[in-house]
């Protein structure tokens, strides 16, 4: 009976731990590209996984960093634990307090503090900085795993060994080490898994072109995780599982008891060493792989773009045609991108911010003037878009439009009866818990200010307070504040209405025909994302070649087909064969709709802080 309860409890916990994993495994066989919908069984993601060099590179980087940082942390940490244990309590306590800091501190603070350090000593962010950061947060896990074991070791046996003539080192390895080995190995495992699993600290300490799986996934969250990621996780998981089974089914289990003790150590070695060796092989392969693809001293261009905002084939084509190697990195929001450029920690060559952020960058003197002689294809961009850009880049000196669009309401026709034409529906009680709101300050306030009939660039305190009040009123009706997930949730029929960028709307309609997009009558936001070159770019001409390439009609069309965000490239629009898409009111809204729309402008640091404060008041209410 007791045994039964034990097993039952164990199984319950296992269900809790493994249900998300099973979910991910199931998703890896899902034929549909979004995780919200089951589109039938397929193994195609497994095939495409191995052709995806980005993911494979990220995998190898992740493994190398996890292994190297765990290994070094285990050595430093175990030595430290022994040393600390031998210290007087008055010395030990402060040291342990310091040791606790990386664990007790918020990851984000650790990440930022390390980034500040690296920036201050002008150590350029990249692979090495990630490694240092990971070692730093791994050591405490090792120390805390080893210390309890050390406390439990019987000092008398060690003294006895010494009395019997063993050297301290010999005595340590013969007497103490076997006792603390479980602590060391669990410390190593913890460190390895923590490193494997870390996202936040890596995010702040990494440089361009280096991605771990976490940062790669984070970049993808905005537009939906690539199914290859599920396939990769499944493979990783299954191979570790298989390894465990193989090792555990080794015959020693059946041997008689006396041998078992001797065997135990052997088994430990077997159990830990074999996986370690396999990892080494993987890592060796990884370094080889990484070298061949990444570290060549060719001409290069470092691109910093929104997540999932370009067809990867475009990059391949560019590399093929020009011989310039693209180092590609992604960001999630303008606000995340800005500090990185401002700090100058990484010399990006070409970046794709939105309107108001470009204005901020120009005002803070972060951008280089473009040389239009090197960008002849700029002529393909429609005149109207250049005129529109003058709102934030008065002379068109700094930016070339890449994509544009509006913000509107996406609604599910099966859940919403009446035709929708006003923002007021976002405050309609009958859609309680069925509304998805944008989780970004400017968008949330922009929508509300427009609904109230104000400008979405308002800095009037009364207007903003009124908007805040409305947003607080709306909060109980909101199912969730989302940026990227709105797409998947709408496709999966999770909500009736969502505030969404027009570029996402087309894709959601392809996946779920019940969805409809509307720009409310009160007007909305029209935005432009444009290419700019930061002042500290080291490859300005390559950057211009890159922008020029993207402005080529066939390339812009290719991109449009992939990301479905409206292109300002008139020549590319002419190439679109599907008439319905070419004249889609979502991608290319009629003039009268656009006349009701406004572009965000940068309101200055103080107003920025004001918006953020009000938004926090909404969120915490």
């Amino acid at each position: 009976m007791k045994k039964f309860i034990q097993r039952f409890y164990l199984i319950l916990i296992l269900i809790l731990l493994y249900s998300p994993i099973v979910t991910l495994i199931v998703l890896s066989f899902n034929n549909s590209k979004t995780r919200a919908k089951w589109g039938g069984f397929t193994v195609k993601w497994y095939a495409s996984l191995f052709q995806n060099q980005d993911i494979m590179n990220a995998l190898y980087t992740t493994l190398i960093i996890a292994f190297a940082s765990a290994f070094l942390a285990t050595i430093i940490g175990t030595a430290a634990a022994i040393g600390i244990q031998a210290m007087r309590k008055s010395v030990r306590t402060p040291i342990m307090a310091v040791t606790n800091i990386p664990m007790l501190n918020a990851d984000i603070v650790t990440g930022i503090s390390l980034m500040l350090l690296f920036v201050a000593i002008r150590f350029s962010l990249g692979f090495t900085t990630i490694l240092f950061a990971h070692i730093t947060f791994n050591i405490p896990y090792v120390i805390l795993s080893v210390m309890p074991k050390l406390k439990q070791t019987n000092k008398a046996t060690y003294e006895a060994a010494l009395d019997l003539g063993a050297s301290p080192i010999y005595a340590f390895f013969k007497v103490v080490f076997p006792d603390i080995f479980p602590g060391i190995s669990s410390g190593f495992l913890l460190a390895f898994t923590m490193s494997l699993d870390d996202f936040i600290i890596t995010h702040f300490t990494k440089g361009p072109g280096v991605d771990t799986l976490s940062t790669k996934i984070y970049g993808e969250v905005r537009k939906g995780i690539k199914p290859e990621m599920y396939a990769l996780s499944t493979l990783l998981f299954v191979s570790v599982l298989l390894l465990l089974f193989v090792v555990n089914l080794s015959p020693s289990d059946k041997e008689n008891k006396k041998v078992v003790k001797h065997r135990k150590q052997k088994q430990f070695i077997f159990r830990r060493l074999v996986p370690a060796l396999l990892l080494l092989v993987l890592i060796g392969g990884g370094i080889f792989y990484g070298r061949s693809s990444n570290l060549t001293g060719k001409e290069q261009v470092i691109v910093y773009n929104w997540g999932e905002y370009m067809d990867p084939e475009v990059l391949d084509l560019f590399e093929e045609e020009t011989g310039i190697q693209v180092v590609y990195e992604e960001f999630e929001t303008n606000e995340i991108m800005y500090p990185k450029i401002q700090s100058g920690a990484i010399a990006y060559d070409v970046v794709c911010p939105s309107d108001y952020m470009i204005q901020r960058m120009i005002e803070n003197n972060l951008l280089a003037e473009l040389n239009y002689d090197n960008i002849p294809n700029a002529k393909n961009i429609g005149e109207t878009y250049f005129i529109q850009s003058k709102q934030f880049d008065p002379e068109n000196n700094f930016s070339i439009p890449y994509c544009w669009g509006t913000v509107g309401i996406l609604y599910n026709k099966t859940m919403v009866e009446e035709p929708i034409d006003s923002w007021s529906v976002l405050w309609d009680e009958q859609y309680k818990d069925n509304i998805l709101m944008q989780d970004s300050v400017r968008d949330a306030f922009g929508v509300t200010l427009k609904y109230l009939g104000y400008s979405l660039n308002s800095t009037d305190l009364d207007e903003l307070e009124a908007a805040k009040k409305l947003l607080i009123e709306q909060k109980p009706l909101v199912q969730a504040y989302v940026i990227d997930q709105v797409r998947d949730k709408m496709i999966g029929n999770e909500a009736a209405l969502g505030v969404i960028y027009s570029g996402e709307a087309i894709y959601t309609q392809w996946e779920n025909e019940n969805l409809e997009y509307v720009i409310p009558k009160e007007g909305s936001n029209v935005w432009i994302d444009s290419w700019v070159i930061p002042k500290n770019s080291k490859n300005k001409e390559n950057a211009e070649a890159f922008i020029n390439f993207l402005c080529r009609a066939d390339i812009a069309k290719m991109n449009f087909d992939y990301i479905t965000y409206s292109t300002p490239n008139d020549a590319a629009r002419d190439l679109i064969e599907d008439e319905a898409l070419k004249n889609s009111p979502i991608a290319f809204p009629p003039k009268e709709d656009l006349e009701r729309c406004e572009t965000f402008s940068f309101l200055g640091d103080e107003n920025d802080a004001l918006y953020n404060r009000l938004w926090r008041e909404v969120k915490s209410n």
Partner: protein, 276 residues
């Protein structure tokens, strides 16, 4: 001779001490510096005073509450679990322990995203409940989902240290207690539990702190409707890009962390006392 040996032993901590000065203390000092200055480098306490605004206090309180509940749940779940694991024979148990670490080999963001799939209105759990004609579970985007996410993500950090300590307890001590007439409750309360305190303490630190400071879990499972102190700080750094206020708030949060460290240090002393 013995003292000399001790000094040699202490030297082993040398590399770590250098490392911790360079990569723990100095970066921390930079946060303190940022927290106490304005953007034009003048001294101010205004960044720290930001915590007294209503919304920040609320976020801090909620974070403390949720992480406390999660830690308690983790402890309640993990302790029996660790005991069960210890009762297996050695060969089997290290396998079983690995089974508990194994989920972490799937990426943390993906696993948390998977909970969205499970808990959503039309998610897996509700589909099953519907099929069984049971009432549906609507906890996604509520604090309950965040607690679930915290427990799910941090449970292994509670299980492992407790298991580590329990597996080290000398069986003879337990047998001696039984021979002297202690029943199983007495044995547990007076022998096993006191001996496992160091493990419990390190388990609590390993769960409470990441839970207190998380922002990803509250973002993904709370639908961004619930603001924890971690979210506030993250937004100051990433969206407000006001590193000074973010640093100031981090300093406040670190006060709470130091308080819990002090409590832990106190109980750890007792743990040592009852140990060897």
């Amino acid at each position: 001779m013995k003292n000399k040996r001790k000094i040699y032993k202490q030297l082993l901590a040398g590399p770590y001490l250098l490392w911790s000065i360079a990569f723990i203390l100095i970066p921390l000092f930079m946060i303190v510096y940022y927290g106490l200055t304005t953007s034009d480098n003048t001294f101010t306490l205004r960044n720290i005073a930001q915590i007294t605004t209503d919304e920040n206090l609320k976020a801090l309180g909620l974070a403390l509450l949720l992480s406390f509940i999660s830690t308690v749940i983790c402890l309640i779940l993990a302790y029996p679990l660790a005991m069960i694991l210890t009762s297996f024979n050695v060969n089997q148990s290290s396998f079983v322990v690995l089974i508990f670490i194994l989920p972490m080999w799937m990426n943390f963001l993906l696993r948390t995203l998977a909970w969205q799939n499970l808990l959503e209105k039309n998610g897996v759990v509700n589909t099953i409940l519907n099929a069984l004609h049971l009432p549906t579970l609507n906890i996604i985007n509520t604090p309950y989902a965040i607690i679930l996410g915290m427990v799910y993500n941090f449970l292994p950090f509670m299980v492992l240290p407790i298991y580590n300590v329990l597996s080290k307890i000398d069986k003879d001590v337990v047998h001696a207690a039984q021979d002297l007439g202690a029943n199983s409750i007495q044995t547990f309360m007076r022998i096993i539990l006191p001996l496992s305190v160091p493990g419990i303490i390190s388990g609590i630190t390993m769960v409470f702190v990441p839970a207190l400071t998380t922002f990803v879990i509250s973002d993904l499972l709370g639908g961004s409707k619930i603001l924890l102190i971690g979210n506030v700080i993250e937004q100051e750094f990433k969206q407000g890009s006001n590193w000074h206020v973010g640093s100031g708030l981090s300093l406040v949060m670190m006060v709470f962390i130091i308080i819990s460290m002090a409590l832990i240090a106190k109980y750890d002393k007792e743990g040592e006392g009852s140990g060897f």
